[in-house]
Symmetry: C2
Subunit: 352 residues, 2 copies
C-alpha cells in the first residue's frame, strides 16, 4: 500500500483529545473564548446560510443534522436527542461535527462534539445573559443538574460574574454530582429540595432538564419581576419546560425564529407571537433589557452557527495543540479521474 496523499487526511479530534484540549486551555477560559467566538459570528449573522435543522424523529428520540456556511467555511453537526438513553447508561445527547472548505468541498476537520456542544451551549447561554440579565445579577438558580449543569454554572461565573448557584434536580444524586464537580471553583453552591427554593433570591433562572414531554418546571407564580430566564432544556417539538403563562409575561429572545418556533418554549404560543432575535440585540438594532422589572427569556434551542463557531475555534487551536490524529478519509488519487486505478494499485504489483 502506498501512503495516502496529504489531501486524503482529515484531522480528527477524538473525545480524548477534546478533553485534553479543555484541560490544556482551562474550562473557564475556553467558555469565555467560545462565547467571544459565538458573539463574533452572531455579529455577522446575515452572512451565514441558515436553515432549520434537518430532523429525523422516531418514537424514542431524534437525530439531527445542523449545517451552515459563512461562504468560506462550511460546517455541520450530527446530534441526537434520546431522553431514555440515560436509563440505559448512555448519553442523552451525543454529537460530532465537521468543517469543510467551501472552495473545494474537502473536509478540514472532524471532531467529537458531545463535549463541545455542552461547552458551546453554556457559552451561548451566558453570552445571551450578558446582554439580557439584570444589572448586577450574582445568583443563579440551576434547575436540572444533569450533563449540561456544570458547564452552565461555570459559564455564568466566568462570563456574567455569577457567584452563587442554587442547585435543584428531581434526583438528589444529580445535585450531589454537580456540587461535587463544582466544589473548589469559587462558586457558592446551595443544594435545594424544590425548584421554588432554588429560585429564591436568584436573578437568573436556568432550566436544563431533559424529559421529552411538555413538562412544567416553572409555573407562573414562581417567577417574580426582573429576572432573566435561560431555558435550555426545551429544544424539540413536544419538549418544553415553562408554563405558557410565563411566556406571555416575558420578553422573548431567540436564536433563529423559524427553528425556535418549532422546537423552543414558544411552540406553545401563536406562530406570530413577537420575539426578538439575539443577534439583533448584539448588533444594536433591537433593544435587549429595557426595564429592571422586565422578565427576559432566552428560549435557547441551539443553532448551527454556534456549532460552526465552536468548530472553528477548535480548528484554530489544532496546529498549536497537536491534539488531533489524521484520518485517511478522502480518496485522493494522483490523477483525480483515476479513482478506479487507485483501487487497482492498492492491490500491489500482483494486481487485483
Amino acid at each position: 500500500m502506498t501512503l495516502p496523499s496529504r489531501n486524503a487526511l482529515v484531522p480528527f479530534v477524538s473525545v480524548d483529545n477534546m478533553m485534553r484540549l479543555v484541560l490544556h486551555i482551562g474550562v473557564e477560559r475556553m467558555l469565555v473564548e467560545l462565547a467571544q467566538a459565538i458573539e463574533a459570528d452572531f455579529r455577522r449573522w446575515p452572512l451565514f446560510d441558515k436553515t432549520p435543522r434537518v430532523a429525523s424523529h422516531s418514537e424514542i428520540g431524534v437525530i439531527e443534522l445542523m449545517p451552515t456556511s459563512d461562504g468560506e467555511t462550511y460546517g455541520f453537526k450530527y446530534v441526537n436527542g434520546h431522553p431514555a438513553n440515560m436509563k440505559k447508561g448512555l448519553q442523552t445527547v451525543t454529537a460530532f461535527g465537521l468543517l469543510a472548505d467551501v472552495e473545494t468541498g474537502y473536509p478540514l476537520m472532524l471532531s467529537e462534539m458531545t463535549i463541545l456542544t455542552a461547552l458551546r451551549t453554556a457559552a451561548t447561554s451566558a453570552m445571551a445573559a450578558k446582554w439580557l440579565a439584570p444589572e448586577g445579577a450574582r445568583t443563579m438558580a440551576l434547575i436540572g443538574n444533569g450533563a449540561q449543569a456544570e458547564f452552565q454554572a461555570l459559564a455564568f461565573k466566568a462570563i456574567c460574574g455569577i457567584t452563587e448557584v442554587r442547585l435543584h434536580d428531581l434526583d438528589p444524586a444529580a445535585t450531589a454530582k454537580c456540587a461535587r464537580n463544582l466544589a473548589g471553583r469559587g462558586l457558592k453552591l446551595t443544594a435545594c429540595h424544590t425548584a421554588e427554593e432554588a429560585i429564591e433570591g436568584a436573578q437568573i433562572i436556568t432550566t436544563c432538564t431533559a424529559d421529552k414531554q411538555n413538562a412544567t418546571i416553572l409555573t407562573d407564580n414562581m417567577i417574580g419581576t426582573g429576572v432573566h430566564i435561560n431555558a435550555v432544556g426545551g429544544d424539540c417539538p413536544g419538549k418544553t419546560e415553562l408554563h405558557r403563562d410565563i411566556l406571555a409575561r416575558a420578553s422573548i429572545f431567540v436564536e433563529y425564529p423559524p427553528q425556535t418556533r418549532i422546537e423552543g418554549e414558544i411552540q406553545q404560543l401563536a406562530p406570530d407571537h413577537p420575539v426578538s432575535e439575539l443577534w439583533q440585540v448584539i448588533t444594536g438594532t433591537t433593544p435587549g433589557r429595557s426595564d429592571p422589572r422586565q422578565i427576559t427569556l432566552f428560549d435557547s434551542v441551539g443553532f448551527a452557527i454556534e456549532d460552526f463557531s465552536a468548530l472553528a475555534y477548535v480548528h484554530s487551536r489544532l496546529r498549536a495543540s497537536g491534539l488531533y490524529q489524521d484520518l485517511d478519509m478522502i480518496a485522493d488519487p494522483d490523477d483525480p479521474r483515476d479513482l478506479f486505478g487507485m483501487i487497482l494499485r492498492a492491490a500491489g504489483p500482483q494486481g487485483a
Copy 2:
C-alpha cells in the same frame, strides 16, 4: 487517561480499508451485491424517511447532506460536487457517510464514501437498466470517461451482461486511462473519437460527464428508437447532459421526483411532466419498458436510500473482514449525567 468505553468507539472504514474491502470481495461481485442491496431497499421504499438532499451551494460547487432512515437505522452522506477541483488535482466528488442506531442515536459506523459512492452509483445504474434496457442489450456507449466510468462499465457487465463498451471523452487521455484500467476484464473496448461514433450499435447509452453547466452531450438526432439512456452526470441545478428534445421523446424513470425535478435532466421540463418512479417499476405497480421501440431514460441523480443501502452493506461485512479501525468519537461517561466529571478525571489524580 482511562480507556474509552466500548460505546465511545465507532468503527471507521478508511479509504485504505475500503480499497482492501473492494479487492477482498472483488469489484464485480461487490457491484452485484450492492445492486441487490439497493434493489431490496427500493422494494421497501415507502418505509424510508425521504427528503431532498440539503444542499449548500456556492459559486464554485455544492456541499450536500443526504439523510434517510428505515426506522431502525439512520444513515446520511456528506458529499461535495466541485467540477473545478479536477484542474487542481482534487476529486470532483468526495464523500463520507455514517450509520446510526435509531433507538439510541449512537453512531454504528463512519465510512469513507468517495469510492463507495462510485460503486453504488454504478450499481444503481445497472440495476435500473436491468428493468428498463431492451432485451438482449450487449453494447453500451460510455460517454465521459472520468472517475465514474470504469465502475459503470463493470456494473453493466456484471449485472446486465454487457460485453462491449464504446468509450468516448473530450479528453482522449481519459479514454486511454479508462481502457487501460478495464483491459483484461472480459469486455470488448472500443475508443471512439466522437459521441456519435460511440453510440453506433449501442443499445444502452451512459453519460457521465462532469461539467457544471447545461451541456448537450446528446442531441435528439443521435438517439434512435429502442435505446436505454443512463444519464448519470446531470445531477444539480444548471447541470444537464441531454437535449430537451430527447426528454420529450423518452419514457423517464427517476429515483425521487421532488429531488430529480430540481437536480436531474428533467429540470429542463415542466414541473408536472410525467415521470415514473423506479421503485414502483421494481414492485410491479408501474410499467417499465413496454415497447421495443420505446426510448427509456434513467435520469439518475443519486438518492439517500442508495447510500443507506451501500453503508448497510459495508457494515454487514465489517466484523468478518476486520477492515476498520475504532474511533474514540462518542463521549460516554460511566454516569451519563457526569460528562463534566469525565473531563475532570481525564486530568488524572493531580486534578484539572
